[in-house]
Subunit: 265 residues, 2 copies
């Protein structure tokens, strides 16, 4: 039994889709969410910066007495997870591994495509982890840098988002790829139009949802479940909290009050 | 006479369009360019952060013995210019004022539209400065947050960029607005499709180009022109310099070597 909070972080607010899924599955847990809104996005930054930023946030979450850290950001998971685990002694779980295991479970012909930010695709972390579990797998990596700005503009299901999705997914249409990983926390908000374009037979993997089961199992196995009756959550951002609340409500689909500011160096 | 360099800064690499125009007009000047690539973009950050980042960069440029600072970033000019001028004693010039004066000079019916980032539009700095020079002016502010990611994806003249431009400029089509300010250093790379959509009669103001004349006049009037035969320039970025060189060449249309890294706090 461990009533300490679970730390969840992302480059901005995309990770709130992960927080939402975790809150539903684990209602007794307390959560602390950090969105690095002063430096968002991570997808176009260097490996060195992504590691440095992830390091600063993890250090801060550990100082808040978190029992574990969930790296909700795909870019940070792809690039920083290993170095975070080497540096810090508390359990740290990233979205990539969960997405990989779910995709391998779902695919029937071992043809898996990965949609992600430029930095995640460049790292080829999904590819490496898929190959590690099944060396025969055929992988297609597709960087989709316009998806995040589209979602943040609220353009998730109109003719413009359809054009952008069609442009990036051209090579998947009528292809053998039967499973597609949505390798960025913003992408599930484009799930419907992506599904429409690829057709119902293609399975979409939301790596944010996939992590929930992994966190649950980890807490159970290690006897770290919280025993309080109703968990609470608190959001912290590195830029001003006001504008965060508004867009965050679109992600969380719940009223958000009292986001606080933190300064990280 | 003053051979010290001119400091130019931007949130990322968009300001290179300004540097390019300055280099052509003032070949004897030395330039130091700073792109804050570790925290780009500024357009979705808060006023407080934009001021803090602009402050750190200006302090660094002054420490490099610059004779003046050009704020090439529209967002930083809109939000931080006044506080920078209060804090530092060297001359600091921003792109907004130059763009405003050029637009007023060009418009024949005092109907001026401003295209810019969310933060610049929210500040209404173009609107305030236009009104200060001509209180009768009719202004339309349009935030175009997808323009920067489109340009950075290299999608400057295809069906997708046309769709995005049409979406944002719908209200300008067949309107009375005869002058449109491109209020972000990335936007001149979309000049051709914007002109095509609005028609030849509409005048586009590139605020980056407009600042060149202002810098030139300022140096002349204050006897600050450099007298060396051939100026040089050096670029500094807050993220890793490697990836910067590649995209920067698209902006500068010249080979770029030896960009250096700086760490700002």
């Amino acid at each position: 039994m461990d009533n300490r909070p679970i730390g969840v972080f992302d480059s901005g607010l995309g990770g709130l889709t992960v927080l939402k899924a975790l809150k539903i599955a684990l209602p007794n847990e307390n959560f602390i969410y950090v969105g690095d809104t002063a430096r968002v996005p991570y997808g176009n930054k260097s490996r060195k910066k992504i590691k440095q930023y992830s390091d600063q946030i993890s250090k801060w979450l550990i100082a808040q007495d978190c029992k574990m850290v969930v790296v909700a950001c795909n870019t940070a998971s792809a690039i920083a997870l290993e170095s975070l685990r080497m540096k810090f002694s508390i359990p740290i779980i990233g979205v990539i591994n969960s997405g990989v295991r779910r995709a391998i479970h779902l695919s029937q012909n071992s043809h898996i495509a990965v949609l992600a930010t430029a930095a995640t695709i460049k790292s080829d972390e999904y590819g490496k982890q898929l190959k590690a579990l099944n060396s025969q797998i055929i992988i297609k990596n597709i960087a989709c840098p316009l998806f995040v700005p589209l979602v943040e503009e609220g353009l998730t299901n109109d003719h413009l988002s359809l054009s952008v999705i069609k442009m990036y997914l051209k090579s998947l249409k009528n292809s053998k790829f039967d499973t597609v990983i949505l390798g960025c926390t913003h992408y599930p908000l484009l799930k419907d139009p992506i599904q429409n374009i690829l057709g119902d037979k293609v399975k979409l993997v939301d790596s944010g949802n996939a992590i929930v089961k992994e966190v649950e199992e980890f807490l159970m196995e290690n006897n770290l479940m919280s025993k309080i009756s109703q968990g609470i959550f608190h959001c912290f951002v590195t830029d001003e909290p006001e504008s965060f609340d508004k867009i965050a409500e679109r992600f969380l689909q719940t009223k958000l009050v009292g986001t606080s500011h933190i300064e990280l160096f």
